[in-house]
Amino acid sequence: MRKWDGTPVEPLLSALVEFLLTLAEGHALTFSYSALCKAAETSMESSTFQAAVSVLVSSRSLHLLDIHYILDDGNEEYELADKDVAHARRTGKLAHPETGVVIEDYERFVYPYFEASNTLREARNRA
């Protein structure tokens, strides 16, 4: 945390780290945006909250979460490969994982969620 001390992101980051490290044993280690938002006692409109999530996903020293995506086509849910989401973000085009058909306005059907990273799992095992 030291790197973030005194920065605007520190209070929300501390709250999220505390939440992730102290979850009861057996608690699912996947999280929606809403669950993280609730844990940080803030709103989705808070740019500082989004920044804290970004730190947890990408930071060298505090990488506690991995981000993944689900496609819900109205009938079924599909886990999307990271590379397919990356491609869709660049090109605006996402092919349906089963039919291969390009999904119009795909962002409406794609939902990000978060999963404990190896670092978080190891930290929880040590505690």
Binding site: K3, T7, P8, V9, T30, F31, S32, Y33, S34, M44, E45, S46, S47, T48, Q50, A51, A52, V53, S54, V55, V57, S58, S59, R60, H63, D66, I67, H68, Y69, I70, D72, E77, D82, K83, V85, A86, R89, R90, D105, Y106, E107, R108, F109, V110, Y111, P112, Y113
Partner: protein
């Protein structure tokens, strides 16, 4: 687990540049490093710097008498709330501004208070021959010029001309730059051979109000 769609997030971010940058950084931070990803990172750094420059230029009275270290720290402080890993070390042995995302992407910046083009050139040499590695995903850097004089655009034109005449292996794609408050140049890294991209930007901290209370304020702070 399913709540906010990608579309919902983009709609949330529509009117808030800092939120938009943070949301995009989260998505980018979860991807494996790639050339496209680095281009996106550099675009987000540009957006964040534009935001920071606008914020700083809105209140020159808070900055016009500060030194280079404090100006660098003030400039990048909004970025600390956007999800970048930002360092403003600003001491002899380190680059002034380092912006990173995860283990791979980085952007380095050197900042100087405008004191003529030869002085800025020294900072440019520090940045390009001392700090910039030219390694993979480390090929974008920037020169930040704080301009306390009138006509920051003229200062940038002087700087562009000086760089063009004196820089080693420098190319400025859009010369001549007319009425510029910023421009881009490239050079080839001596270390790695990579083509490096340099963003040159000015931050106007000129503050000389001519009304009575403004004059009093400036003379009081001296």
């Amino acid at each position: 687990m399913k709540d906010y769609s990608q579309k919902d997030l983009l709609l949330l971010a529509q009117r808030n540049p800092a939120l938009s940058i943070a949301i995009h950084l989260t998505a980018l931070g979860g991807e494996p490093p790639s050339k496209d990803g680095y281009d996106e990172f550099n675009g987000l750094v540009d957006d964040a710097l534009d935001f920071c420059i606008r914020e700083m230029e809105r209140q020159p009275q808070l900055h016009y008498d500060q030194n280079e270290d404090r100006l660098s720290k003030s400039l990048i402080s909004p970025m600390l709330g956007m999800g970048f890993e930002v360092d403003s070390k600003a001491n002899g042995g380190n680059v002034d501004v380092a912006i990173e995302l995860g283990r791979s992407y980085s952007w380095l910046g050197e900042s100087k208070i405008w004191d003529g083009p030869a002085y800025i050139f020294e900072g440019y040499l520090q940045l390009t021959t001392r700090y910039a590695s030219g390694g993979e995903y480390q090929t974008s850097v920037g020169m930040i010029t704080f301009c306390g004089l009138k006509r920051s655009d003229q200062a940038m034109l002087d700087w562009a001309n000086h760089l063009s005449a004196n820089g080693k292996d420098v190319s400025i794609p859009n010369m001549p730059i007319i009425g510029s408050t910023g421009f881009r140049s490239t050079y080839r890294s001596e270390r790695s051979g990579a083509v490096m991209s340099v963003r040159h930007m000015s931050v106007s901290i000129y503050f000389k109000p001519e009304d009575k209370s403004g004059r009093a304020r400036v003379s009081k702070s001296k």
